[in-house]
Amino acid sequence: MRHFAAGSAGVSLVNNIFERMGRKILFFVESLGHFAIFVRSLIRWVVGGYFEWKQILIQMLRIGVESMPVSVMTAFFTGMVLALQSGESSKHFLNEPLFIGTLVSFSMVMELAPVMTALVVSGRAGAAIAAELGTMKVTDQIDALYTLGTDPIRYLVIPRVAAFLLVLPFLTVMSDFSGIMGGYLVAKVKFGIAPNVYWHDIIDNMRIRHFVHGYVKTYVFAFAISLICCFKGIETRGGAEGVGKSTTAAVVISMVSVLILDYFATAVLVALGIT
């Protein structure tokens, strides 16, 4: 009898596991469907030419002002670390700190500034967007938009996506410059490299296509972060707890997406010879 009860409990446990897995898969497929509808609606409004210019400007200021200090500071210290590491390494192998400017500028412009700025902005502005839209959802403000004759995609999502596309490349350029300045500070103070050596190092080796390589990526990141954060915000369910959950999910998914997309964008750009 006890043996039978134990067997029955085992079957129930297996059923439970399958049921939970099934629920997760269903939820995932359902979310994908909602995301596809969301993107279709976005495209429809964009093709229709419905732009809320005032909202786009407001969002550009918010995203830019909120994120610029953090992204510039992050890039500055990243540039400093790069200079320190590369200077010490070349001193170790070549007895003098060589090519610091080249290494810092290439690393920052092609890879680190676009990726780190995207990560910082998704943590700062992306989280704010998901939380704001999530709160609007759970307090019926999204429904209120419909009753007042507009669509949340048009009024809330398109301005945020557009603002991201316009602001993130600008922030990345600021980060490029800030990182290179950070590298310059370490090269000069720590290794005593003359300014003209550092800058010539960059000017002699850097080409427009290296800048384009990093710049193009920022548009991919901006599109991904803004879409994910807006979608998670608008899909929020279940009050304050739901807002917290969707904000966390928005930040985590957008950060991971930036890293994954970085590989594929780099692969495409390399294939196109933009490297």
Binding site: T135, M136, T139, D140, Q141, D143, A144, Y146, T147, L148, G149, T150, D151, R237, G238
Partner: protein, 268 residues
């Protein structure tokens, strides 16, 4: 006139509306009463088009909602209907006058330079003055409700839908809102549907009262008819008694069901 025929609506496995038939005549105020989770707000959302019924039809002045397709159709339809949300649903980032005039841009052809004046007029209609430049966070609960009501009437609708207009308000403010509903009905000659648990409001403001229970209307009648109804369900609800055919049961906590049903009390 609003006409609902055989309206059915489900959320997942829960059948919220199970074949609603209802006619609301032009100029009347219909109050829908019933327990939590019985589908009162869902019915209102079907009327405004925020929820889509699986079966049946709802038409307003002969326009069937299910047939509305383009943005223009919807804008034209929603211009005729004002909706007061339970918690007001004011936009936090906008000032009071921007909230009130928000719909004018999308629902009407009124030029923007007139928005502020119209907002002040509508605010005066609901008894508010000198609040135009405040943010919603600076208002009391009663003021928020009134601003939300001013927003609902901003585009001069023919119909107003009230979702729990007195919930969360003190008895005096509830009475103020009841008076406002009556006042607006007289001044604007609008047709209204309100859902509420507040029997004082129902008796005061209603032309007719309808009781919704388990997705169907159990009784529809004048306030006097509802007051003297012999239907045991209606009697229990209007008298507010815990003993009777409607059983309130505290369900065992289940987080998945919780998220679907938005509450832990259900009339069964």
């Amino acid at each position: 006139m609003i006409e609902a025929k055989g309206v059915k609506k489900s959320y997942g496995h829960r059948h919220i509306l199970r074949g609603i038939d209802l006619t609301v005549e032009t100029g009347e105020t219909l109050i829908i009463i019933g327990g939590s989770g019985m589908g009162k707000s869902t019915f209102l959302k079907c009327v405004i088009g925020l929820a889509r019924p699986e079966e049946g039809s709802i038409s307003v002045d002969g326009i069937e909602i299910g047939r509305l397709q383009s943005e223009e159709d919807w804008a034209h339809y929603r211009q005729r209907i004002g909706y007061l949300f339970q918690e007001g649903a004011l936009f936090d980032s906008l000032s009071v006058w921007e909230n009130v005039s928000f719909g004018l841009r999308y629902l009407t052809d009124i030029p923007p330079y007139r928005y502020r004046k119209i907002a002040s007029e509508k605010l005066a209609l609901v008894g508010l003055k000198d609040v135009e430049d405040l943010k919603p966070s600076e208002l009391s609960g009663g003021m928020k409700k009134r601003v939300a009501l001013a927003r609902a009437i901003a585009s001069d609708p023919s119909y107003i839908l009230y979702d729990e207009p007195t919930t969360g308000l003190d008895p005096i403010m509830s009475d103020v809102i009841s008076d406002l509903m009556l006042d607006l009905q007289k001044k604007l000659n609008v047709t209204s549907i309100a859902v509420t648990h507040d029997m004082k409001l129902a008796y005061k403001a209603a032309s007719r009262i309808a009781m919704l229970h388990e997705g169907k209307f159990l009784a529809v009648g004048t306030p006097e008819e509802i007051k003297s109804s012999a239907n045991p369900y209606v009697r229990q609800f209007v008298d507010g008694k815990s003993v009777g055919p409607i059983h309130m049961k505290l369900r065992d906590f289940d987080p998945d069901e919780e998220s679907e049903e938005h509450g832990d009390l259900r009339v069964s």
